[in-house]
């Protein structure tokens, strides 16, 4: 009896049964200080694969499964989720957390499963020579930092000399990513950079904004996530910092970040690498096959929001890579290493995006053996508090590759040396 009970309990500690079909685990977070943001992303991610399953019967005749696993943005739970799902034939991971990404990079390289980190994770993973299994197209943090500075250059007639720019960042691997680039750019363009770390989760940032009030920087750039974003925008409004001089990274540019601040958030800008809203043809099908039959993830209450769109965009890229991998492998039941080849040969042209029903939704993505990061193009969006929506204010802008490429080479070489990797290609 005791033995039976013990075996039953043991069985319950082990994850669910093995699955057929193509498995794309969704390591999401819907709880904790980052849950409001993580939920929307996870919904977009799920819904696009549901759309493919319902409308096309999957990809190349293979249904896609997206088993979810809650990480709460916590690295230990992330490891547990990775271990629990990788045995089920997981094809690719997209954990939406820079901290978890850093842990998974060595693990996926050993287990030979691709890791796709659009717009987050380790920037130098763009160097495919060193990071064989990691892809971070269409843009990374250093691209974001460079595009933001480029935009400010444009605003100031190409000259930022003597200007003061403050970086407000989440004091974690994620927030620290852009510092090196911004320092290089400040040398190049002659602006002064001040760094203001905010300890996660970031509900407490009075002192940092007091410092901003005292120093009066011309611009504030923010690397925030979760509850930190709304707090920062609220604090900026409190000290009457001009919103149009406040630029957030793409993770600080969703509706949940600006809505709580109300009208005071009007004019706040953020970077983005994907479109927002439901004015894309793909939503006709989405409505018909996913939302109206009631198959939308968690009821579909966030359809079209900035983060929903980004989650969907990640799913689009993964779906395209699966399709490419199926072409290359000549069979529809692909394995994780075959998907890696698919990612590396990926080429999403503007025409292809239009075909999917998302014209001008994201930049062109073309990857190769040595470039796992695409073009790095991003654009700016601005919040209109009256209409309660984001509007795109620039075209896709290319980052300053002259500054970024040496930095990427330097950082990835340091990693290769530390981890004992011989560069490929």
């Amino acid at each position: 009896m005791k033995l039976k009970l013990a075996t039953a309990l043991t069985a319950l500690l082990v994850a669910g049964p093995a699955m057929a079909d193509l498995v794309v685990p969704n390591l999401s977070y819907r709880t904790g200080p980052y849950g409001a943001n993580g939920t929307q992303y996870a919904d977009g991610f799920n819904d696009y694969f549901t759309l493919l399953n319902e409308r096309d019967g999957g990809i190349g005749g293979e249904k896609i499964q997206t088993p979810e696993c809650e990480t709460a943005y916590n690295t230990e739970k992330g490891v547990e989720c990775y271990e629990a799902t990788k045995g089920n034939g997981a094809l690719v991971y997209n954990p939406l957390s820079t901290g978890i990404t850093y842990q998974l990079i060595p693990k996926v390289s050993a287990d030979k499963i691709p890791l796709y980190t659009p717009g987050y994770g380790r920037t130098s993973a763009k160097n495919g020579k060193v990071f064989e299994w990691v892809f971070n197209a269409p843009a990374n943090y250093w691209d974001g930092a460079s595009v933001a500075i480029k935009y400010l250059l444009d605003q100031n007639g190409g000259d930022l000399k003597g200007k003061k720019i403050a970086l407000v960042y989440h004091n974690s691997a994620y927030g620290k990513e852009p510092i090196r680039t911004l320092q290089e750019l400040s040398k190049k363009h002659g602006f002064t950079l001040s760094e203001l770390p905010i300890d996660p989760p970031g509900q407490e940032q009075k002192s940092q904004w007091l410092q901003i009030r005292r120093d009066k920087p011309d611009y504030v750039v923010m690397w925030g996530w979760g509850v930190m974003n709304q707090t920062a925008i609220q604090e900026a409004a409190n000290i009457r910092f001009p919103m149009e001089n406040f630029i957030g990274i793409w993770w600080a540019g969703s509706e949940v970040d600006v809505m709580p601040v109300g009208d005071a958030a009007n004019g706040y800008k953020s970077l983005t690498f994907n479109g927002v809203g439901t004015d894309y043809p793909v939503y006709d099908d989405m409505k018909k096959f996913v939302i109206e039959p009631g198959k939308a993830s968690q009821g579909g209450q966030f359809v079209g929001s900035a983060l929903y769109s980004r989650g969907m965009y990640a799913a689009v890229v993964i779906a395209e890579a699966i399709k490419k991998a199926q072409e290359l492998a000549g069979s529809s039941a692909i394995t994780a290493p075959q998907l890696r080849d698919g990612f590396e040969a990926l080429d999403i042209t503007p025409e292809r995006l239009t075909e999917i029903g998302l014209p001008d939704f994201g930049p062109e993505i073309k990857m190769s053996c040595d470039n796992h990061g695409g073009s790095g193009m991003a654009r700016l969006q601005q919040w209109d508090a009256g209409a309660k929506k984001w509007s795109l204010i620039t075209e896709f802008t290319e980052p300053d590759q002259d500054v970024l490429n040496p930095l990427i080479a330097e950082d990835s070489e340091a990693y290769a040396k530390e981890a004992g990797i011989t560069p490929r290609c």
Partner: protein, 358 residues
């Protein structure tokens, strides 16, 4: 009937003073060790190692360490996360600076470094007690995490402030890094857990432990009978931090493989380990294991029941998990304020009389 002292004759003082005076306990202990060392490593897969057993063993080591300080010496500490961070960053600096030295040596050295840091932050305990000491150790927690975030030397000037464990071997077996097999991870942690638990058990029933307990029960009385509070308190901080440092080193190097100070070693970690000690039982080695098991295994167990078996949405399951674990903590503390270890002791006492209680 079967579980009893009768018939188990002790003919020497040594036998009389052993940890498991009852034969069945002793056999159970040896059987458990035999299974843990000789059977489990051959069957363990990476899920069982990484999600269940390795974290359990590491947190058990940390809980034993904190139990020495809180349960045996009576000094409340909220600095566990900070001290674990010291262990993690020490092992990182050592393994990157001296790649040729076996990793076990580095882990032990990391423990020793943490012991020194722990003694330093234990100095206020000579003047202040109770809640005030807890606040002083809380300062250690925040200071240490801030330090590892602030000074780039600690994370070898990496762009993001993350530390990543490179591959290091022990007699040709990879112990850290991505290529480590599940059984190597498990065995490394098991060896440390068993040896450290053995050390803790023998320290706490010897002179040192009796001094700690004397200080805990009444420090003035202890001083009068000749216990030196300086050496007793600082030795408690040193030994406790040594254990916690090793746990931190293992957590980073063997279990996670990459870490950042504020996320992996924040105040939450201090509370988690303190809760393990309180729920498991203050002043009990078994309690440390039981508390670690309760707080590490139960969430994983609940998650698998609710999500994988019942198919509930993951956010609902995550919230329910918090509620169930919280409710169980309250339940156990009401039913038995002295923790799971006391429940275990009561069960054993009842078993001795079974089936003929008087």
């Amino acid at each position: 009937m079967i579980y009893r002292e009768a018939g188990d004759f002790k003919t020497s003082y040594r036998d009389d003073g052993q940890t498991f005076p009852i034969r069945l306990d002793r056999w159970g202990y040896y059987a458990l060790l035999a299974v843990a060392f000789l059977v489990v490593p051959f069957f363990i897969d990476s899920y069982w190692a990484n999600a269940v057993l390795v974290p359990f063993l590491i947190y058990a080591i940390a809980a034993i360490g904190l139990n020495i300080l809180v349960g045996y010496a009576g000094q409340v500490s909220l600095g566990t996360g900070g001290f674990m961070a010291v262990g993690a960053y020490a092992v990182y600096k050592l393994m990157t600076a001296f790649p040729g030295v076996p990793i076990f040596v580095h882990i032990l050295l990391a423990g020793l470094i943490t012991a020194l840091v722990g003694m330093l932050f234990g100095l206020p305990s000579l003047r202040i007690k109770g809640f005030y000491l807890a606040v002083a150790t809380l300062a250690a927690q925040f200071f240490l995490v801030w330090l590892f975030n602030k000074v780039p030397w600690f994370y070898n000037y990496s762009a993001s402030g993350q530390i990543t464990a490179p591959e290091r071997t022990f007699f040709g077996w990879a112990v850290t890094g991505p290529a480590t097999s599940a059984s190597a991870k498990y065995l490394t942690c098991l060896v440390f857990a068993v040896v450290l638990a053995w050390v803790a058990r023998n320290l706490t029933r010897g002179t040192v432990g009796r001094k700690w307990m004397a200080i805990r029960d009444m420090d003035i009385a202890a001083e009068i009978i000749g216990v030196n509070p300086l050496s007793a308190k600082l030795s408690a901080f040193a030994v406790s931090s040594f254990f916690i440092g090793i746990a931190g080193a293992l957590l980073f190097a063997v279990y996670l493989g990459a870490a950042e100070a504020s996320e992996a070693f924040g105040i939450n970690k201090s509370f988690l380990v303190l809760f393990m000690v309180i729920i498991g039982g203050l002043g009990s080695i078994f309690g440390s294991f039981a508390g670690a098991a309760f707080l590490v295994l139960l969430p994983v167990f609940l998650k698998n029941v609710l999500v994988a078996r019942l198919g509930w949405p993951t956010d609902l399951a995550a919230h329910l998990e918090l509620m169930i674990v919280g409710a169980l903590i309250i339940f156990f503390l009401i039913v038995e304020p002295h923790g799971l270890a006391r429940l275990w002791r009561l069960t054993k006492e009842k078993l001795r009389l079974w089936p003929f209680p008087h």
